[in-house]
């Protein structure tokens, strides 16, 4: 194979380039330099994979690439096809713009001397995700799962607060449980097959399934590895770590964790389904049935949990639980169409959810760094681009036409129509209910952030001219009671307003005026850095554009996915 095209080196280059980038970060102990290097590497990876993707789609080929001098059953291998190249391209794209959009918050949230470590972790995270996408070897997959786990935990805890530490501990324990289950399954698999490479595993497994030898261990292997990956990608009953980790981390981390890290494991699972286990065998062992049921439950329960949240990032995080439910439901449909719908939803969620998280971060930046709904009232007027992006993201998640979420729902229902009579009604009902629930929790937030600015002080400030003292002070006094009674106004500036109101309730007129001006001044100073940097605007615009792009031109993407899955 001396005539191997040069571009077939690109997956190998991508993995090694990101890995080496991560390893060399300690030499640049400066966050800003590290960020620039990181961005350069991400762009290089994105471009390389995009070229590879275009080439593989047009030629309709796939290839294996030896990592060393030894071929298939002995040495390590990676494998590339249109599916893998597409996913890697999108991952690099999303990661680049997620970092760009959240870079203001990274510099604010991460202690200065540890910023280069944050970008180091980003490099390793991208490296591990690309390796998970391209791997052709189960043990390589496990090794990079480990890197992925650690790096993902590190980007959560790099925001130095008690909340994130607790969230990280939870995340780490659940994530390690997942890795442990995967490793146990892998050990058992090697024990009964004697292989680790996907290529050589499949014939052995098929033959084993036919002869019914080692049937029970095989079932357990399938169940345990799938379960491990489900825990790590937060399928419904194993989602408990997700809202904390995604809700408390800095915006970029939330965006990347939700948009990409969860999907890396799902893509690995899909690859294993096609290249190792075969869908027929999984259906026979009822693994897909279990995934299907959990996916359906997740679709509904994730949304119900999201309904109860009053914290915009936690709500968005619960929405991710629901969306992961969609993807697993598609996989559980056990048909080509379902798999394609799931793959498409991976893409549409990967470009929508980071936008939502970044927009939420942008809105919080102009609302005293509070993520509570009551503090976010009218926030979109203070940061218009974030407001627009949040609304578009929400509409996309609900599944309004023209946005990326719509085609995936369309494909899911198409997939349902192609499946058996047991699944079809379930999927259609779940889709309808879940869509309604999505609308129920996203729309109020959208309305809320676009409400006119109605801070308590302003109405009073104007009104106090022609009102008596007691009358003028009243709403604020009530507001103070409100803030106190709710008891969680620690971060909200409502408290400071309320306190000012209490202080001046007695001597209203002129004194009140001055005090209000004072608090407003403090308010402005507090919001002096709004975080609406050019980088943020660019990232939001790109995410919005790509959302429309995927929502309108879904045809070619779907064709590429179909081709990729056929070649898998």
């Amino acid at each position: 194979m001396h005539d191997m095209p040069f571009i077939y080196n690109f997956p190998f280059f991508s993995i090694l380039l990101t890995l080496i980038g991560g390893m060399s970060m300690p030499f640049f102990r400066n966050g800003r330099v590290a960020q620039k290097i990181n961005m350069g590497i991400i762009i290089a990876v994105g471009v390389m994979n995009f070229i590879l993707f275009c080439n593989l789609v047009s030629t309709g080929e796939h290839f294996t690439y030896m990592m060393g001098h030894f071929p298939a059953p002995w040495g390590n291998e990676i494998r590339g096809g249109p599916f893998e190249a597409l996913m890697a391209t999108v991952f690099a794209f999303v990661m680049g713009f997620a970092i760009l959009g959240g870079v203001f918050n990274i510099y604010e949230d991460v202690p200065k001397k540890k910023q280069y470590l944050y970008f180091l972790m980003m490099n390793l995270l991208l490296s591990s995700m690309i390796a998970l996408i391209y791997t052709n070897d189960m043990f390589t997959a496990y090794v990079f799962i480990e890197i992925n786990t650690l790096a993902a935990c590190a980007i959560v805890m790099s925001k130095d607060s008690g909340e994130t530490i607790v969230a990280t501990i939870r995340y780490l324990i659940m994530s390690l449980l997942g890795s442990g289950l995967f490793l146990m399954g892998l050990a058992l698999l090697y024990n009964i097959t004697g292989h680790l490479l996907m290529e050589s595993l499949q014939p052995v497994i098929l033959q084993m399934a036919e002869s019914e030898q080692y049937y029970l261990p095989l079932t357990v292997v399938f169940a345990v590895t799938t379960l491990g990956l489900c825990v790590k990608s937060a399928l419904y009953p194993f989602h408990s770590w997700l809202p904390g980790a995604h809700g408390s981390a800095t915006s970029s981390s939330s965006a990347i964790l939700s948009g990409l890290v969860l999907k890396g494991y799902i893509i690995l699972l899909m690859k294993m389904m096609y290249r190792v286990y075969t869908p027929e065998l999984l259906a026979k062992l009822h693994i897909t049935d279990a995934i299907f049921v959990l996916g359906i439950i997740g679709m509904i329960m994730g949304s119900i949990h999201a309904l109860r949240e009053r914290h915009i990032k936690r709500m968005t995080a619960y929405s991710s639980v629901a969306q992961i439910g969609y993807i697993f439901m598609g996989i559980g449909l056990n048909s080509e169409v379902g798999m394609m719908a799931a793959s498409f939803h991976i893409l549409s969620h990967a470009i929508t959810k980071p936008m939502l998280f970044l927009a939420a971060g942008g809105l919080a930046n102009v609302s005293g760094h509070s993520y509570e709904f009551k503090d976010l009232k009218g926030a979109a007027h203070r940061n218009k681009i974030a407001g627009v992006a949040f609304v578009i993201g929400a509409l996309s998640m609900i599944g309004i036409p023209l946005f990326a979420g719509f085609p995936s729902k369309l494909f899911f229902s198409t997939g349902a129509l192609h499946s058996d009579y047991f699944r079809m009604p379930l999927v259609l009902i779940a889709l309808a209910v879940s869509t309604a629930l999505n609308a129920l929790y996203y729309l109020p937030v959208c309305i809320n952030i676009w409400r006119m600015k109605d801070e308590p002080g302003h109405g009073h400030g104007h009104g106090s001219d022609d009102h008596s003292a007691s009358h003028g002070g009243e709403p604020e006094a009530v507001h103070a009671v409100h803030a106190e009674a709710l008891g969680h106004g620690s971060i909200s500036h409502a408290v400071s307003h309320g306190a000012a109101a209490v202080a001046d309730a007695g001597h209203a007129d002129s004194g009140g005026h001055e005090l209000l001006h004072d608090t407003d001044g403090a308010h402005e100073m507090h919001h002096g850095k709004t975080g609406i940097t050019p980088a943020f605007v660019v990232s939001m615009v790109v995410f919005i554009a790509s959302n429309f792009g995927l929502g309108i031109f879904y045809g070619p993407v779907m064709d590429a996915i179909r081709k990729g899955l056929e070649l898998l």
Binding site: P111, F144, D454
Partner: protein, 321 residues
């Protein structure tokens, strides 16, 4: 003026919360249970009475944790036992250990054992496997160590920017402890550390350098060297270790070893996938300078592991290296 008046009115209804539950919810107003005011209370407030907050029975965090544990602990035990039982049960159906006709005795392990020496030049088959046949996995494993130590650095390393781990009281206590331990050295520990640690480190180096000809290698040898460093730090205090092993040295060694490892392996992966000979002689089997890249790779892995061990130790005890 009337417009302003209106805006005042709306803001008042705002803070009372709407009667319509849907509107209240859209406004993100507190739910009726949370809302501390009713019409009567507002009237009372207007009349100048002070508002008395009703005490709701508060469920404390501990109480909640206790209730949670009451269900959770037994459930976890039952679940774990069930899982253990399942795995043990599965083991009954797996190929018998030590039998010759098990699936793991296939062409893969056969080639590793039969052709290992010729392919890799290493008399230690395991070293040949992990550093030549499946070197990509080992590169990943070394990166796992690197990721781990860097994560711990994010979590525990002290910086002067007011991070959470910077507790001045704790710092003072540590400094005091250090001072006392410097003044009152543990004679036994110190003497023994002085005698043993050179041998420990020397043995570690031996294990690393002979990784390709005898059992051992980078991972085990590196762990031994790391243990030796920890022993020195225990016996003579961190100030002594710092003289030759500070944060800068740590970073340089770790990063350089990893980068060299990656560079060597890049070369061998690239040539391998293009079916080009590497041109690295395998040497005489059994000699120290043999088996191509395996010796330098072992050295790099050993350095990474030693640094990681010592890094964990010092980050967890003092929060710095």
């Amino acid at each position: 003026m009337s417009e302003k008046h209106e805006s005042h009115e709306t803001s008042e209804t705002e803070y009372k919360g709407s009667k319509n539950p849907f509107v209240a919810w859209v406004n993100a107003d507190p739910t009726p249970e949370e809302a501390p005011w009713t019409e009567e209370k507002l009237e009372a407030l207007r009349a100048g009475e002070t508002y008395v907050r009703e005490e709701k029975p508060v469920i404390t965090e501990e109480e909640r944790a206790r209730r949670f544990n009451k269900v959770y602990k037994p459930l976890a035990v039952v679940l774990c036992c069930a899982f253990i039982a399942l795995l043990v049960f599965v083991c009954l159906y797996t190929p018998p250990f030590g039998a010759t006709d098990v699936p793991t005795n296939n062409e893969v392990s056969f080639k590793y054992i039969e052709d290992g020496l010729a392919d890799t030049g290493a008399t230690n088959v395991v070293a040949g496997m992990i550093l030549d046949y499946r070197a990509f996995d080992t590169l990943g494993e070394s990166s796992v160590l690197f990721t781990a130590v860097m994560s711990v650095m994010i979590l525990l390393r002290k910086d002067r920017d007011g991070s959470l781990v910077n507790d001045p009281a704790e710092d003072a206590a540590l400094a005091k402890e250090e001072k006392i331990s410097v003044q009152h050295r543990d004679v036994i520990l110190r003497t023994m550390a002085g005698i043993i640690s050179p041998f420990v480190i020397l043995f570690g180096i031996y294990v690393v350098l002979n990784g390709h000809i005898s059992p051992g290698g980078g991972f085990s040898g590196g762990a031994i060297i790391g243990a030796g460093l920890i022993l020195i730090s225990q016996g003579f205090g961190s100030a002594k270790t710092k003289k030759f092993f500070n944060f800068k040295v740590f970073t340089i060694i770790t990063s350089c070893s990893l980068l060299s490892y990656a560079a060597l392996k890049c070369y061998s992966f690239y040539t391998g996938s293009h079916h080009i000979e590497t041109g690295i002689p395998h040497g005489i089997p059994g000699a120290i300078l043999s088996s191509g890249f395996i010796l330098p790779l072992n050295i790099f892995v050993g350095l990474i592991v030693a640094c990681t061990m010592f890094g964990f130790y010092s980050l967890f005890t003092k929060g710095e290296i």
